[in-house]
């Protein structure tokens, strides 16, 4: 197992698995977010449910904490791997080419590192904003709906979220199909096209789903 973690392929597999786990989380998260369109009550109730789900088998909010812990582990492993691999990759080509061409690979592919950093920064901000509430204009515990709406009434906060979601879209578009390949699933050129299409669709659905909230608030659909 240690050998696996030490190898480039093993680390990449860790990134793929953690990435896919985060992706699952994001799908659930995004679907949950959409409840905002059904009004304050339902949304707050949903947020409350998140803290009670799993009871009575688990103690109050344990499920939430376990999920959070797993997510943190994923994020940390993902970032550590990304960092270590990126350092390795950069030092594998100490001197670049004088005649540089536009890469033939897609924009999404070539912005994984940059996009990842944006996402990391976003995650921190996002937690401060809506979990810890220290960066939220409303910042009332339990008043999840109001906190969200308060956010997107400020254009710069909305912009931050929109940019992050676009970055997420790109990250998933390459990430999903790349993960499939990393885990050994893409065994032919035809399959590659299928996986690419699935990745694109998934990226689009998730980012549109997330973007619906800030846009909904800004357009007055949600208030």
């Amino acid at each position: 197992m240690l050998a696996l973690w030490r190898s480039t392929i093993g680390k990449k597999a860790v990134m793929a698995v953690t990435g896919l786990a985060m992706l699952l989380f994001l799908i659930a998260h995004m679907l949950g977010n959409l409840k905002i369109f059904f009004g304050r009550e339902e949304f707050d109730e949903y947020a409350h449910w998140l803290r009670t789900v799993g009871t009575p088998v688990l103690h109050n909010a344990w499920f939430l904490w376990i999920s959070r812990a797993l997510l943190v582990v994923c994020v940390v492993l993902h970032i550590v791997s990304a960092y270590q691999l990126s350092r390795r990759d950069l030092s594998a080509r100490p001197k670049g080419y004088a005649h540089r061409l536009r890469p033939t690979a897609s924009y999404a592919t070539n912005t994984m590192r940059f996009g990842g950093i944006i996402l990391a920064l976003f995650i921190i901000y996002h937690l401060l904003d809506l979990t810890a509430l220290v960066a939220n204009p409303n910042g009332v515990e339990g008043a999840v709906y109001d906190n969200v709406v308060a956010d997107f009434q400020h254009w710069y906060i909305a912009l931050a979220y929109i940019v992050a979601m676009l970055a997420l879209c790109l990250h998933i578009a390459h990430g999903f199909w790349s993960a499939a390949r990393t885990l050994g699933a893409v065994s032919s050129a035809t399959r590659a096209r299928v996986y690419k299409a699935v990745a694109g669709t998934l990226a689009l659905i998730i980012s549109v789903g997330f973007l619906a909230t800030p846009i909904g608030v800004m357009s007055g659909l949600v208030d």
Binding site: T8, K11, K12, S91, A92, K95, L101, S188
Partner: protein, 249 residues
């Protein structure tokens, strides 16, 4: 036709290098790229200058000796073609052609366009073979190989070990090279007994050489003169993960 060559000149491994311009006034479009460099070198020798060092041997696109990055593309603009098979008719009159060596930490420059690719040999030495002592082989027909497997093995065995994949990859990764050999040997029935050790050892050797990791950009496949498919990398990953989890060593 006339072209301007802008060639990386570096007199030794530890020297600093630079791009130097050479004017070529009388280029025959039927010349191969290397023949054009031959003409340049003859001129440089007579002028008392150092000729441009570059690796080449078969000039038929099969030995894998030649290799230079031409206008940012390993082996130049023509797909599925090695430098030695690239012809000047691919270029236009008046072109400026930038010629650089493979750039990779694992392929240190020896001189001008010549790099040290022995890292590839060490990877093969670590496990890129089927162990069969001379004379101990069973009758060739004692083991049948389904044609699709034989064809798949062949497709991967076509790799000429030129290093264009490493030169093209933004991470300087050698995954395509390693995946071609692992695919070739691991799909054949003869390769089964060493299936796990082979891939584990080869990946370990590859990492030791200082190549980067794969981020599935596909630049390697695009540059490969033999068209080794990117799917081979997926197979390498699969073989490696499978072998790691199998607990064999």
């Amino acid at each position: 036709m006339k072209v301007t060559l802008r060639i990386w000149r570096q007199s030794g491994p530890d020297e600093s290098g630079k791009l130097v311009d050479y004017q070529m006034d009388d280029v025959n479009p039927d010349m191969s790229f290397l023949e054009m460099l031959d003409v340049l070198n003859e001129r440089l020798i007579l002028n008392g200058e150092a000729p441009v060092a570059f690796d080449h041997d078969c000039r038929e696109g099969i030995c894998g000796s030649c290799g230079m990055v031409i206008n940012g593309m390993p082996h130049g603009p023509q797909t599925l073609t090695t430098t030695c098979q690239l012809h000047m008719r691919t270029f236009s009159d008046g072109d400026v052609i930038v010629v650089e060596p493979w750039r990779s930490a694992a392929f240190p420059i020896i001189k001008d366009l010549v790099v040290d690719r022995t890292a590839f040999d060490r990877i093969i030495q670590s496990g890129g073979y089927i162990s069969v002592a001379t004379g101990s082989a069973p009758e060739a027909h004692s083991q049948l190989v389904p044609k699709p497997d034989a064809d798949l093995a062949f497709e991967n065995a076509e790799c000429i070990g030129c290093g264009a994949c490493v030169a093209a990859c933004p991470n300087g990764s050698s995954m395509l090279f390693v995946s071609a050999k692992v695919s070739h040997l691991n799909v054949l029935p003869q390769g089964q007994p060493e299936r796990e050790t082979r891939v584990l050892r080869m990946v370990e050797a590859m990492d030791l050489e200082g190549f980067g990791g794969c981020t599935n950009t596909g630049e390697c496949t695009n540059a490969c003169p033999k068209g080794i498919p990117q799917a081979s990398i997926a197979r390498l990953n699969r073989e490696y993960l499978r072998a790691s989890l199998s607990g064999r060593r």
